[in-house]
């Protein structure tokens, strides 16, 4: 009965994981994903509460609903994990990513790059007569679009942070 009603559609989820900031904790999380064959689309981590030694990991992953439930349960049973929160499932959330985009060129292409950056509210954080480096924040789709538009204008280098996210509303994790 139950096992015949599997939903095999692949879904994407953004999961926030609050962990002890101790050596090896990131390796544990990454090892869990590789060891059990789960996908990582992006993963970010940094300490968010130095006094309590807590770090927050944001991981974007994909899989069938059954696999996604497994991922959360497996994360939750890691000893240094405090909380696992499925931001996608829990309701509206704000996902953000930051990119640094370096574009080199001259003449009309250079002007065009600056114009597009303005439209995207990207900020030049480094510049010379030969290049700009833009800082841009937003959801991943916006960043993808920006990078694609920069490509014919002399795109040289891209560095992206991966997604961080937080739930909308007044409640914490």
């Amino acid at each position: 009965m139950a096992n015949n009603h599997k939903n095999d559609a692949i879904e994407r989820r953004t999961i926030a994981v609050l962990v002890d900031n101790e050596p090896g904790v990131l390796a544990r999380v990454i090892g869990l994903f590789s060891g059990r064959g789960y996908n990582i689309e992006s993963l970010t981590v940094t300490e968010v509460d130095p006094a309590a030694h807590l770090s927050r990991i944001t991981v974007v992953t994909s899989g069938t609903p059954q696999v996604l439930e497994q991922i959360k349960a497996q994360l939750d049973r890691l000893v240094p994990v405090h909380r696992v929160s499925d931001l996608t499932l829990q309701g509206p959330h704000v996902p953000r990513e930051l990119a640094l985009v370096k574009v080199a060129g001259s003449g009309e292409k250079r002007v065009e790059a600056l114009r597009i950056a303005d439209i995207f509210r990207a900020r030049a954080v480094d510049s010379s007569h030969e290049h700009f480096t833009f800082e841009i924040a937003g959801d991943s789709g916006k960043l993808n679009a920006f990078v694609e538009l920069m490509r014919p204008l002399g795109l040289v280098d891209v560095s992206r942070t991966g997604v961080v996210a937080i739930a909308r509303g007044s409640k914490g994790l």
Binding site: A2, N3, G24, R28, E69, Q70, D76, R77, L78, V79
Partner: protein, 592 residues
Amino acid sequence: MTRDASTETELLSGAQMVIKALVEQGVEVVFGYPGGAVLPIYDALFQQNSIRHILVRHEQAAVHAAEGYARSTGKVGVVLVTSGPGATNAVTGLTDALMDSIPVVCLTGQVPTHLIGNDAFQEADTTGITRPCTKHNYLVKSADDLSRIIHEAFYVAQAGRPGPVVVDLPKDTVQNKGHYTPKEAIRHRSYRPRREPEAAGVQEAMALLRGAKRPVFYSGGGVINAGPRASAALRELVRTTGAPITSTLMGLGAYPASDPQFLGMLGMHGTYEANLAMYECDVMLCIGARFDDRVTGRLDQFSPNSKKVHVDIDPSSINKNVLVDVPVVGDCGVVLEAMLAEWKAQKARIDQKALKAWWERIEGWRGRDCLAFRQEGAVIKPQHAIKRLYELTRERDVYITTEVGQHQMWAAQYLKFEEPNRWMTSGGLGTMGYGLPAALGVQIAHPDALVIDVAGEASILMNIQEMSTLAQYGLPVKIFIVNNQWMGMVRQWQELLHGGRYSESYSASLPDFVKLADAFGAVGIVCDKPAELDDKIREMIDTPRPVIFDCRVAQEENCFPMIPSGAAHYEMLLGPDDKAAKPISEEGMVLV
């Protein structure tokens, strides 16, 4: 070593704190092997009398011995090994303990902190290597953290779903002095698994059972791990409801095998009646088992018409392989007691007419007598050997361990366990070489019991060096080798799946096991005649020393019943005549 409360702030060396923490945890025995990085700890061991150290002959065996000790007592097994090869040798044992959820704390030596990462002599990245094969691990970088971490390690090993925990101890942290933190001061920051179930789940489960027409209980190692209370509650609930019960390999003994409601083990080599009851049931109560592939067979044909309740302390076990209708997260003992209370409060009863009809069908399947065999002729059948071993030892205080393969499955089929904690076998990992060191650990915990390692002639050679440990400590373990001169299970699969091409599965150049026993100061007995079997088994039992019993059996006997890989429960092979009729699918061949 002082244990006075007033000296809590006194500085102790790390090695002294290791001993003090172990004593405070109630540890009586440590299984280990010394080496450079752990010399300070061995020095501290030398200067105390609270903890007994058992010197094994290989670090893998230290972990299996600790597992045997843990599984037969319900306590944490403790291991002490050195850095580098000491730690890497322990990896198989740790993985075994992880797969079978056995509480083990393994202390590993490490090179001094200033040498870590320098490829120092006997350095290995122990926390890196053991991360995926432990429940948790620690690298202790300061003597001040040491005792706290050891206490935490014991907590983590036992809390929730038990498992192995490694504490890696650089040599300088055990030589330096630090402050001792007592056990009571520890409260884990993040790891607090849930023991108490949600009442709604328990009620829903009992409502399902109450409405069942064809119920079955399916219990596993989680019931054993939850302690004797869980087994007692399981027995009462099963008897009160009148439903049939089957068990996984890991769960044998939680429910008495001699009870008429017990259908025997289920799964790949389980009984016909257990597997068909699983296939045909309408309500399944899985208690502390994990729907392993050896149990379910082909997943899309696994018990297709049942509502399933799954009780497990580990939420990640739920809906992992099989989607269930009523998940209940909690300790099996607590949940079973709550279920029993709920059942009684409801004054519930299963529809007796339906239950009677269900039992009639089950008795029909049972009537096939799927474990029947004929002992005839001049050669001992392996099933007969194990059956006689059971019948001649059943009245005794007996503990059984096994190696891995055909003999393991025959042992599970023909040895009847009436109590929990009497059966130690490598279920999840399937580790050949497990049985002898595990038996060693069991015998240390139960010096007066009859401890038997049911072995195969191939498996036993994987940790045969532990004969020397048996000799050193005068441990009268009985090694009962079902010797068919083949890696029997490999040979069986090659016969059934690979056209009888017996690639590398013959046990060539076997030692003379009688002489081998003699060389290790044990007693060797060889038996190849059915008529002599009983007397020789009695001789083995009556020998107050370690014994290797070389039981020469029929070479090409296969282990039946068998659900071939990729097949469903109803597609069991009951015997050698069955296999021609049911060829194994290509799909099944790729499975293990």
